[in-house]
Symmetry: C2
Subunit: 90 residues, 2 copies
């Protein structure tokens, strides 16, 4: 999967990410991967559900995977953060 | 699956839920379902990852499902909230 089919979910309003997914899929992309870490995980689930239920009913959920990523904070020490990847297929 | 194998993830500290899962599994339960809604979804992923990576390495992830639930707020109107179910198997 090319990098352009990945939508990274951060702290912006949920509709920003919904629009990004809908735009990609309406432009012909058949598979979009949502990726989020930490507290944005809840928002990634919201994006998947809103796209499916409000915008593109034919979108189906693909694999949903969770994992732990190690990130380095500003002080240079490492901490673990949970991550999720949600695959959407049209 | 009986109801006692479900751990509902709320707003308490994440280790409370980790302890609940570890206690159930050490007591002989082989399958625990984590359920969370809204912002607690991120915490549910944290619980699953911490149980797997720090406490019971033989736990495997089962199905991960996301959905939308309709809840009634204090004023009596309905709103939608995302939900997740994460299955843990030992």
């Amino acid at each position: 999967m090319s990098e352009e089919n990945v939508v990274y979910i951060g702290n912006k309003p949920v509709m920003n990410y919904v629009l990004a997914v809908v735009t990609q899929m309406n432009g012909g992309v058949s598979e979009v991967m949502l990726k989020a870490r930490g507290r944005a995980i809840s928002r990634a689930v919201d994006v998947a559900e809103i796209v499916r239920n409000k915008f593109i009913p034919e979108v189906q959920l693909g694999s949903i995977e969770i994992s732990t990523e190690e990130i380095q904070n500003a002080e240079g020490s490492n901490s673990n953060v949970s991550a999720i990847e949600i695959q959407l297929n049209k």
